[in-house]
Symmetry: C2
Subunit: 277 residues, 2 copies
């Protein structure tokens, strides 16, 4: 089973071409109902293991979510990571940089909010925007963005060297699926507030984004901070895949409850004295 | 039904004596199973309403949890607020102040992490420690801590004046229940790491803590930032009570999805052009 999702890992030095990947892939599952028991099982494992990670207080997990507009970043957080305890898990989204942020290097605002020991941070969009939107819209010259892949790899290597596992998910949907999701937003009053003009103005940059995504995947998937390409046309399959990969990664960290910081026998005596008083 | 939980609200100017309150109170419910459907219904309401609060992006919610050791602050966060989306809800716990924090006024480190528009922050222990542990252990002179009640009320009034609802829960357990919970920690290898010497050294300050809690409740429950005393000997009743009060408070905020920021008819045309291209 795991091998199925392990296949989504981008091997270092790959030459990924997204056109060769099927965003509607759903492995051996026909539909949501078939996948649900396994998704629930993975959610349960994530809950148990994140609690142990928190108790252990030695290792951290950083999850980065990237994908084109409407690819399901918010939905993934809600469905896969909504189950985690807010005490150990924080989701951050990054909008336009503030004045102070734009007065620093491009990694500064992300570095500030990397997870501490025992914690999980989810980046909803991430430092990779610096080689995506900034590249596609020429917000910085090629000379600048082309140097960032190495800077990102160094940054992530600093994190992984400090016991932070970095997992990066690229949610891959087709252009037709994106349009279908835009249509749903137009038709649903509870979602109309999410529509922005840029949904439509960005559409003409689709091919540029795909090229930028491919570069990101090929240059920044490392052994310790891998990218996973998640076929995300089926939301339920996306949730199952992301949950399975996170559960497996948490298992590999093998978090342990720490040894008691007190002498249990002595504490038993103190307990009995207190009970009698 | 709501009246039951509304009774837990400390009215401004009260003269609460905790000895008159039954920490084992469970209203009309006999056991966990009876309460569960209502608790689940409240959790579902919290999920729906926090999403609307997030979408609306105008109001915020600050939840403060206080209570003696083992009163169930972590458990409340896990069971009641674990259901919320980490994208809109952050839990913070406050340990020993850092050097930088202790070089500022006592509210500084709390003010920094109050929730922004659309967000919920949960304080696991809060600025009230400044009139609890600091008072009980004489960490600051009486002249200092006795001035803090008014300073806290002013601080909270600043927050509520800026569209932040402040809800404060005092989880009230009996000393016997505390000892039972300490015993469970001793007997369960998965919980032994949570035991600290201070569990036992603090026990002799029980009466001092009760006096400090009473002062806090009587002096700092205001109309816009009320304290609720939650009978918390039964964990399931505690969860139901806290969930019900939060759900009711969120309903009273009446969050609304914002109006679309685009002209929906124009967007429909853009959509059709894109679809045809």
């Amino acid at each position: 089973m795991m091998n199925c999702f392990e296949n989504f890992r981008v091997k270092p030095g790959s030459k990924i071409q997204l056109s060769e990947i099927d965003p509607s892939f759903k492995h051996c599952y026909d539909n949501r109902e078939e996948a649900l028991p396994e998704t629930n099982r993975m959610d349960e494992q994530i809950r148990t293991l994140t609690y142990k990670l928190y108790a252990e207080h030695k290792q951290s997990l950083l999850i980065c979510l990237q994908g084109i507009d409407a690819s399901g970043k918010d939905g993934t957080i809600k469905h896969v990571l909504g189950a985690t305890n807010p005490q150990m898990c924080t989701a951050l989204s990054f909008k336009e940089p503030t004045q102070e942020e734009s007065e620093h290097d491009f990694l500064w605002r992300y570095h500030k909010v990397t997870p501490g020991q025992g914690h999980i941070s989810i980046f909803n969009r991430s430092h990779y925007e610096s080689v995506l939107i900034e590249r596609v819209h020429n917000l910085v010259p090629e000379k600048v963005w082309s140097g960032r892949y190495d800077q990102i790899n160094s940054f992530e290597s600093l994190l992984t060297g400090s016991n932070t596992l970095v997992l990066k998910f690229f949610l891959y949907i087709s252009q037709n699926e994106q349009l279908d999701r835009f249509k749903q937003r137009i038709d649903d009053p509870a979602r109309q507030w999410k529509i922005s003009e840029s949904d439509y103005t960005e559409a003409k940059y689709w091919d540029d984004y795909i090229a930028a995504f491919e570069n990101m995947l090929n240059r920044c998937s490392t052994q310790h901070a891998p990218w996973f390409i998640i076929p995300a046309n089926h939301k339920w399959f996306r949730d199952l895949a992301v949950a399975s990969i996170i559960a497996e990664a948490l298992k590999s960290l093998n978090p342990q409850f720490p040894a008691p910081s007190v002498n249990i026998e002595e504490i038993k005596n103190k307990y009995h004295k207190l009970r009698e008083s």
